[in-house]
Amino acid sequence: MNRFRLSERGAERLSISVLLAPAVAVIVLLFLGGLASGFLRSLNYFPLIGLNDFNFDAYFAIFTDNGFLQSLVLTFHIAFTSTLIASILAVASALLLRPAFRGKRIVHFFFSLNLTIPHLVGAIGVLYLFQNSGLVSRIMTGLDIIQRPADFPAMVFDPWAIGIIIQYVWKEIPFIGVIVLAILLSVGEDYESVARSLGANRWQAFRQVTLPLIMPGVVSASVIVFAFTFGAFEIPYLLGRTFPAALPVLAYQSYTDVDLAARPQAMAMAMVIAFISTLLIMAYMKLSRVYIRE
């Protein structure tokens, strides 16, 4: 009887493995395979172009290269600043959108509209608006706020990556905001009412009660945004400086370099990006698990 049950369970397990096989194959071949071959190449193993010796030269090269370190700092700056600003503004907008008001559905529609607009379109929009010959610059010239369009402060291709950050903030506010709004609505206003009734003013009720309740959602949404902005290529490519460039741009430049010897370095950079993203996701999962346990 017992044995029969075991074999039944074994059969079940087997059928689950068979059913999962196609999905697992895709993940193993495309994702892990790609990662593994990238990793091997970053270790200077690339027989196709005559590299056969394993070594850490590429890692050594990039971490001693001032340009790479500048790129790393710039990439952190872009990801951190845009995530922080987007998160704060998203929470603020979610709070504004929470109460019932006339025309709420229309406002809500416009709020989440740019979730559907591709990043590239947003980047071109930023370009048209904020470059020296852009719309904002020309309007300000027309209003005599600045003398000539050239006086407009550099906001694209600028050292502080302002244009990139504007684009990310614009794009990610509704992403975080929609998540936070859903959490706010499910938490309800009663906890805040309790706090107010016990003597908390509006700010205290928000700071001590609402914020801690929505924080897990804010954190999970913003980790996703951080990981994305850290590894995304197209926006810094379109709106950023060529030097220092954001890491994904630098990796791409190295990869497409005429010098094939730069390939292992490009792969090493990709590995660094992947490693940092993985670290972040693990930290996030750990944090959220701790929070749920509480």
Partner: protein
């Protein structure tokens, strides 16, 4: 101690539907325990939220000790509300939950700690400081919610269905605890309930609301002995109704004419009400008619009879000794104690909600 006056208090959520609270006048006595009683959706909780400042009235006024508090922010009213589902802050431990109100008032940590201890003793849960709300049972969470409200020494304590989420045993315990704390601290307390028994057992005075309108505001026993309307008597249950015509202390019905010296209604169509306990079986004379026993149930300390009189069926509850005397089908005299007959007006909607006492 604070006296709370509601004056013409009205709340309209949606122009298309009737008001949630409709022109409510109520005088909640200082230091007393007052129940807001009514079926669900009658505006009890809405009234309470307006007192706490969590909802803005559409019209009318709320006064604490004679002064309007409508312009005072909820956190400054000193009217603390305890919600039905407790709503302890899930990410805080019990000590931080109880101490929340004091922390908001910037009381120093040492004092908060000692007053939290006092509160835990008061609600009989000492040693619970470091636990998290989800480690507590419903009854314990309820007590912590109460402690969290009491620690700020509110002028008015507002309890929303304080007993409804608890099982029968805990409910009795909680009832005793609330009564004891309320008496000791003398806080003006309002609690909302849909359970008339809970209201009667716990409250000094009961305000009965139907559809946002005050029906009767009285001492608990009045709702049984002298209800204002048939609806109220029906809500409290267990009464016999016999339609008739009232004139000068006498009500004439299809089954006979009865003296009803205590009644206050004007001449006209009326309803005789008499509680099953006030029906005396087997007694003749004044105010008695003849009836037939339809069925009976012996329930230990008493017996319950269904009696047919003419075309009307009534219920009577008796002392156990009398069970032997009547069998189903017996014809017996049935007497209505004139002092216990209460005559109600015919149409409940047109009767003004008198506030007596």
């Amino acid at each position: 101690m604070t006296q709370v006056t509601l004056s013409g208090l009205t709340k309209i959520f949606d122009q298309k539907s009737p008001p949630a609270v409709d022109n409510l006048d109520l005088e909640i006595e200082s230091g007393k325990l007052t129940a807001l009683l009514g079926p669900s959706g009658c505006g009890k909780t809405t009234t309470m939220k307006m007192i706490a400042g969590l909802l803005r009235p559409t019209a009318g006024d709320i006064l604490f000790d004679g002064d309007s508090i409508l312009s005072i922010k909820p956190e400054e009213r000193g009217a603390v509300m305890v919600f039905q589902n407790y709503l302890l802050f899930p990410y805080m431990n019990i000590a931080d939950n109880i101490g929340f109100g004091l922390k908001m008032r910037k009381v120093n940590k040492k004092e908060i700690r000692s007053r939290v201890q006092d509160m835990l003793d008061l609600v009989q849960l000492p040693g619970f400081e470091d636990r998290k709300p989800n480690q507590l049972s419903g009854g314990q969470q309820q007590r912590i919610a109460l402690a969290r409200a009491l620690i700020v020494q509110p002028n008015v304590l507002l309890l929303d269905e304080p007993l409804s989420n608890l099982d029968a045993h805990l409910r009795d315990e909680m009832r005793v605890l609330i009564r004891r704390i309320q008496t000791e601290m003398g806080i003006t307390t309002v609690f909302v309930t849909h359970d008339q028994e809970e209201a009667v057992v716990l409250a000094d005075k009961v305000a009965l609301l139907f559809d946002g309108r005050l029906q009767q505001f009285d001492a608990p026993d009045s709702f049984y002995d002298t209800p204002n309307t048939v609806d109220i008597a029906t809500f409290f249950g267990g009464t016999n109704f016999i339609p008739g015509y009232y004139l000068d202390g006498t009500i004439t019905t299809d089954i006979g004419v009865f003296d009803a010296p205590n009644s206050l209604v004007p001449e006209g169509d009326a309803v005789l009400s008499i509680r099953p306990e006030a029906v005396d079986l087997g007694e003749g004379g004044e105010n008695s008619v003849s009836g037939t026993v339809l069925s009976h149930v012996y329930a230990g300390r008493y017996a319950r009879f269904q009696i047919r009189i003419g075309d009307i069926e009534i219920e009577a509850v008796t002392e156990p000794g009398q069970v032997k005397l009547f069998a189903d089908g017996d014809n017996i005299p049935v007497k209505f104690d004139p002092d216990k007959i209460w005559v109600l007006g015919p149409n409940t909607a047109e009767q003004p909600a008198a506030t007596t006492g």
